[in-house]
């Protein structure tokens, strides 16, 4: 029987929004990232709903001058087909952003769901235990592939196109969430509060969905934030290699734009053509990374302690510090020291 720790003094529960705000305020960079993400999302919405407000020209609209340098009329200049580069970059924003969110989101649902189940029902010797082990072995195999290279091969096999690239990336992406979520579930599921609810007669399914899931959510959401940027970079790299979508076309996409402008050899003469879509990708990914990386610092048990010290006036719940596990995933094929957060660190942007 686990000794029940003496009850901490009662504390007014902070609403999640307030916690989020406190965390943001503690690190100016995360705050900046958050604002940037908000601006980008709102801009994307405006482009979809009322494009004429901020996008002066339509897709593939000839504007007159060819290869004009940046000016007030054409902030990013025009290209060899006399398209306004600023408009093309803006029109690509909703597609690229939603691709990032959708691919990371579907991976989260598939991988997170599998990880949740594999972590919770892993009693050895039962059918569920065997299933859990099989899922983890499959995950290990998937994790051996560099995402980009497998996604490229799958895209080739499926055929060029935005949807096919999205499918290909998702196929390579979900295993990271399995590992992350399973690690978190393993760490949480033996905590006293779970045992208490079991003792109180709560059904297993309900424990998983109501009590375990809620405590696993936080790191997953943070990782998801960071992941949107990584997906975007990977997607645009596939676009750059030239197997995603063709540019010029009715629906511009940053990676394809870059590939087109770069292969037409214009970077020496007309650098804005390559730099504009490149900068768009950079700013978007940078915004999500700033936000996600700052938030993750607070969840990582190593850096959390430092954070707690530096913001001790706010007094975060002490149990949140001590309850965090170290290396929940030890001995599972991949290098043992990599904690759930550390392991997924390894997938860098391509």
């Amino acid at each position: 029987m686990v000794a029940v720790p003496s009850a901490p003094p009662p504390r007014r529960a902070e609403s999640p929004l307030r916690v989020f705000w406190r965390v943001l305020r503690a690190n100016p960079l995360s705050l900046f990232g958050f604002l940037l993400v908000a601006v980008i999302c709102i801009t994307a919405l405006v482009v979809v709903v009322a494009p004429h407000l901020i996008v002066p020209y339509g897709a593939q609209q000839q504007t007159g001058p060819y290869n004009a340098p940046p000016s007030w009329k054409h902030p990013f200049g025009t290209d060899g087909l006399s398209y306004d580069v600023y408009s093309e970059v803006m029109l690509a924003l909703p597609l690229d952003l939603s691709l990032g969110i959708a691919i990371a989101g579907v991976s989260l649902l598939i991988g997170g769901g599998l990880g949740l189940v594999a972590g919770f029902y892993d009693t050895p010797g039962t059918a569920a235990g065997v299933g859990s082990v099989s899922v983890m072995r499959l995950t290990d195999i998937f994790l051996s592939f560099p995402s980009l290279i497998l996604a490229l091969a799958i895209t080739r096999a499926l055929g060029v196109g935005v949807v096919n690239v999205a499918i290909a990336i998702t196929i390579t992406w979900w295993p990271y969430y399995v590992r992350l979520v399973r690690g978190e579930v393993l760490a949480v599921k033996h905590l006293p509060y779970v045992m208490a609810s079991r003792a109180a007669g709560v059904r297993e399914g309900r424990i998983l969905l109501r009590h375990v899931l809620r405590n696993v959510l936080e790191p997953v959401v943070v990782y998801f934030t960071l992941d949107i940027g990584t997906v975007l970079v990977t997607y645009s790299t596939i676009g750059f290699i030239g197997v995603a979508s063709k540019y010029p076309g009715p629906q511009p996409e940053w990676g394809a734009m870059l590939a087109f402008y770069q292969s037409s050899g214009s970077i020496n003469v007309y650098p804005w053509l390559v730099l504009a879509p490149g900068a768009a990708i950079f700013v978007t990914v940078f915004a999500f990374s700033l936000l996600g990386d700052g938030l993750r610092d607070i969840l990582d048990p190593r850096t959390r302690r430092a954070f707690v010290r530096s913001t001790s006036s706010h007094d975060p719940p002490p149990e949140a510090v001590s309850a965090l596990p170290s290396a929940p995933d030890a001995g599972e094929g991949a290098p043992s020291p990599a904690t759930a957060v550390g392991a997924v660190d390894a997938r860098s942007a391509s």
Binding site: A26, P28, L29, R137, L138, D140, I141, F142, S144, F145, P146, I149, L150, L152, A153, I154, R156, A157, L158, G159, I171, V233, T237, F240, I241, G242, V243, G255, L258, A259, Q262, N268, P271, V274, G278, I281, F282, V285, F286, S289, L290, D293, G294, D300, R302, T303, R305, A306, R309, S310, G333, A334, P335, P337, G342, A346, R347, S348, A349, S350
Partner: protein
């Protein structure tokens, strides 16, 4: 707790054995995902091939997938990875390209260690202050830079500005000495040819720097996190109280323990580094396996090479698995708490 040499052998042997099912899985998955669309496969991969080639291709891939799989595995076991449409053997092409990529990746790893780790220490030292923020901005910039953008900017702007070459391994197409290892710098050193050694290093700097910059975040982040864990410990405090200089305390006493985790994480970066070579090698015309992958997959306007693409995916996955194995073993050796049995 047992840590004798025999136990170490058991420790390593166990991990090597664990790799076998992973490798089998890698081959199965690669084969399955590349053969998803058997009907359109030939059109997809060889859109501009002649009638005869296309007919040959369709004859091959119209067989049942299981038959094809066993054929492929049997070829694989005989060391036959297939050939490109123009008849170049995949195996010999990859074997010839591999050393250049290993050299590039090791050079990038070198930069990540000697720049990324000290940055992590600085980040921890100034945790929550501007030094920390600057470090974070630096490594997140690398994270957010698409590889091709970084590579193109380096090749077009930074290279000429610094006077560094941006093409190939040497300034001449073929160096005037035998290439034993096919790693440009090492070959030049073996030949005791100083001008060519300098030339080879010059050629290596930019692609390695781009690759390192993109992947720097992992090394810096991990070091910073581990340092933050170590710094408040008693032994660091007593080192300070002994009157050691801050530099000595940070880089000798604290970093030594923090590095254990960083070492292993560096092993896991193999995937990111290898994926990065696909674009970096193409931009810098580096004759490695990344460039081979770029052409095999049909990047730019190159003719795709189906057998080559499958082989490249498998080779990259094996490289990642081996890097993980090395990292895992290194961790077992470095961390005295790990039991070898």
């Amino acid at each position: 707790m047992s840590r004798s040499l025999g136990d170490l052998l058991v420790f390593v042997g166990k991990r090597v054995l664990q790799l076998i099912p992973v490798l089998i899985g890698v081959v199965i998955l690669t084969f399955f995902f590349t053969h998803l669309d058997l009907v359109g496969l030939c059109n997809e991969w060889y859109p501009h091939a002649g009638k005869t080639t296309l007919a040959n291709c369709e004859a091959t891939y119209s067989q049942p997938i299981v038959t094809q799989f066993f054929q492929y595995v049997s070829n694989l076991l005989h060391g036959n990875l297939g050939a490109s449409i123009s008849g170049v053997q995949v195996y010999s092409a990859i074997a010839a390209d591999l050393p250049a990529t290993v050299e590039l990746v090791l050079a990038a790893l070198f930069l990540m260690i000697f720049i990324g780790i000290p940055l992590g220490v600085i980040g921890a030292q100034y945790s929550g202050r501007w030094g920390d923020h600057l470090v974070r901005i630096f490594y997140l910039s690398g994270w957010a830079t698409p590889t091709y953008l970084g590579a193109v900017i380096a090749a077009v702007f930074i290279g000429p500005w610094l006077g560094l070459p941006t093409h190939g391994e040497y300034s001449t197409l073929v160096p005037p000495f035998p290439q034993y290892t096919h790693m440009s710098v090492i070959d030049a050193i073996i030949a005791l040819n100083l001008p060519y050694t300098v030339d080879a290093i010059d050629h290596l700097i930019l692609p390695a720097a781009v690759l390192a910059f993109i992947n720097m975040g992992i090394a810096t982040r991990m070091t910073r996190a581990s340092m933050l864990e170590v710094l408040p410990l008693d032994y660091v405090r007593s080192a300070r109280m002994k009157g050691l200089s801050e530099f000595w305390v940070l880089y000798k006493h604290a970093l030594r323990n923090a590095l254990i985790t960083t070492t292993t994480v560096l092993g896991i970066t193999a995937g990111g580094l290898l994926a990065g070579t696909v674009v970096v090698e193409e931009v810098f015309d580096w004759p490695g396996i990344g460039q081979y992958a770029y052409t095999a997959i049909g990047g730019g306007s190159s003719t795709p090479n189906f057998d080559g693409a499958i082989a490249v995916v498998i080779v990259f996955a094996i490289a990642v698995v081996v890097a993980n194995l090395i990292a895992d073993i290194l961790y077992g050796i470095l961390d005295p708490r790990v039991d070898w049995r």
